[in-house]
C-alpha cells in the first residue's frame, strides 16, 4: 500500500455519501483508519500513525471511539499494546474493499467527465 491521499479519500467518501452510502465507503474516518492499518500490515500501527491522517478530518475522540466501537468490536483490528493496533485478515478484506471503492470512484469520475464534455 502506498501513501494515503487524504483529499482523494475525502472526495471518494463524499461521492459515496451522495449515493446514500453513509457508512463504510461513505465514512471518511472508516476509510482513513482501515487504510492506515493496512499500510502497516505485519507491524503495529500506533494511534499517532492513524491520527497523522485523521487529524485533518476528525477530532481525536471520535477516531478513538470509531476504533473501539467498529474496528475492535467487529474484529477488523486487534489491540496489542496501549495505543497500538494490528490489522486482522477480516480487516485486510475491508481495506481491499475500500481500495477498490477508491478505484471505482476514480473510474466513475473519469467517465463522468468524458460524458460531460460530449455535447
Amino acid at each position: 500500500m502506498g501513501e494515503i491521499d487524504v483529499s482523494l479519500e475525502q472526495e471518494a467518501a463524499a461521492y459515496f455519501r451522495s449515493l446514500g452510502i453513509n457508512q463504510g465507503p461513505g465514512d471518511i474516518q472508516y476509510r482513513l483508519i482501515i487504510l492506515a492499518l493496512a499500510s502497516n500490515e505485519g507491524r503495529v500501527t500506533l494511534f499517532s500513525d492513524i491520527r497523522a491522517y485523521t487529524d485533518q478530518v476528525a477530532d481525536r475522540g471520535s477516531v478513538a471511539s470509531k476504533l473501539k466501537t467498529v474496528f475492535l468490536l467487529e474484529g477488523l483490528a486487534k489491540r496489542v499494546q496501549r495505543g497500538g493496533y494490528v490489522i486482522t485478515d477480516k480487516g485486510l478484506a475491508a481495506a481491499r474493499f475500500i481500495e477498490k471503492s477508491t478505484k471505482f470512484y476514480k473510474k466513475y469520475m473519469q467517465i463522468d467527465a468524458i460524458i460531460e464534455r460530449i455535447p
Partner: protein
C-alpha cells in the same frame, strides 16, 4: 449520364443535411465544459457540408461538360477535406483529456499534415477528369500526397474515434447517453471512412456508393441528437419528466 445526376443529388443531400445538422447543433444547449467540443463538432460537420457543396458543383459541371469548372471545384473541395481531421482530433482529444491546450497542439499537428498534403497535391500532376456514366474521377500522380492523406489524415483520427468508442462502450453508463455518444461516433466514423474511400475511388460506382454511405452517416448523426419517438420507446431512452411538475406547470 443520369448516373451523374444521382451522384450530384447525393452530394447535394450530404451538403444540405450536414448544414441542417450544423444548425441544430448551433441551437443546442451547452455547458462550459462541452462548449469547445460542441464547436469542434459544428466545425467538423460544416467542413463536410462545404466540401460536398463544391463536389456537387463539380459533378454538375461534369454533367454539362465544363471540365475546367470540374477541375477548379476538385481543388476547392480538397481544401476543406484536407483540414477535416483537425476539428475531429480536437474533439476527441478534448473529450478524453479535457485539456484545451493539448487539443489545440494536436490539431496544429494535423493542420500541418493537411498543409503538406495540399502542397503535394497542388504541386503534382493530376490526371483527369475521367467522366463516366456515374462519376467524374481525378487521379493524383503523387505517392507522397496519397501516403500523407491515408496515414496522417485518416488512419490516426479513425483509430482515435474507435478508441473513444471503446472507452464509452466498456463503461456502464445510461442507455440514453450510450445511444447518443455511440451513434455520434459511429456516424463520424462512417462519414470519415467513406470520404477516404471516395477520395481514393478508382471505379466510378465506388464513388457513388461511398457518397450514399456518407449521406447515411450524416443521417445517423442527426438521429443521434434527435431520435424519433418510436425509436426512443423501443430502445428505452426516452427522458421521463416529472408528471406532477407538468400538471402543476
Amino acid at each position: 449520364m443520369s448516373g451523374l445526376l444521382l451522384n450530384a443529388a447525393a452530394c447535394a443531400a450530404i451538403a444540405m443535411s450536414a448544414f441542417a445538422f450544423v444548425w441544430t447543433l448551433h441551437k443546442q444547449e451547452y455547458k462550459d465544459t462541452n462548449l469547445p467540443s460542441l464547436w469542434a463538432l459544428i466545425l467538423f460537420w460544416a467542413t463536410i457540408a462545404l466540401a460536398f457543396l463544391f463536389v456537387c458543383v463539380r459533378v454538375i459541371a461534369a454533367f454539362y461538360g465544363y471540365t475546367g469548372v470540374d477541375r477548379i471545384c476538385y481543388y476547392l473541395a480538397s481544401i476543406p477535406l484536407a483540414f477535416l481531421p483537425v476539428s475531429l482530433v480536437f474533439f476527441i482529444v478534448y473529450v478524453v483529456t479535457g485539456d484545451k491546450r493539448a487539443s489545440l497542439a494536436m490539431s496544429l499537428i494535423f493542420s500541418a499534415f493537411g498543409i503538406v498534403y495540399l502542397w503535394f497535391l497542388f504541386t503534382s500532376e493530376i490526371a483527369g477528369p475521367e467522366v463516366t456514366y456515374w462519376a467524374t474521377i481525378f487521379s493524383i500522380d503523387s505517392d507522397a500526397a496519397i501516403t500523407v492523406y491515408l496515414s496522417g489524415l485518416f488512419i490516426v483520427p479513425t483509430a482515435m474515434v474507435i478508441a473513444l468508442l471503446g472507452i464509452i462502450l466498456a463503461r456502464k453508463i445510461s442507455k440514453r447517453h450510450r445511444y447518443r455518444i455511440a451513434l455520434t461516433l459511429v456516424a463520424i466514423s462512417i462519414v470519415f471512412d467513406f470520404i477516404l474511400v471516395d477520395a481514393i475511388a478508382i471505379w466510378d460506382v465506388m464513388q457513388v456508393v461511398s457518397r450514399i454511405f456518407i449521406l447515411i452517416g450524416v443521417v445517423l448523426a442527426f438521429l443521434a441528437y434527435h431520435p424519433p419517438d418510436t425509436l426512443q420507446d423501443r430502445l428505452g431512452i426516452r427522458e421521463i419528466h416529472d408528471e406532477i411538475e407538468v400538471i402543476d406547470g
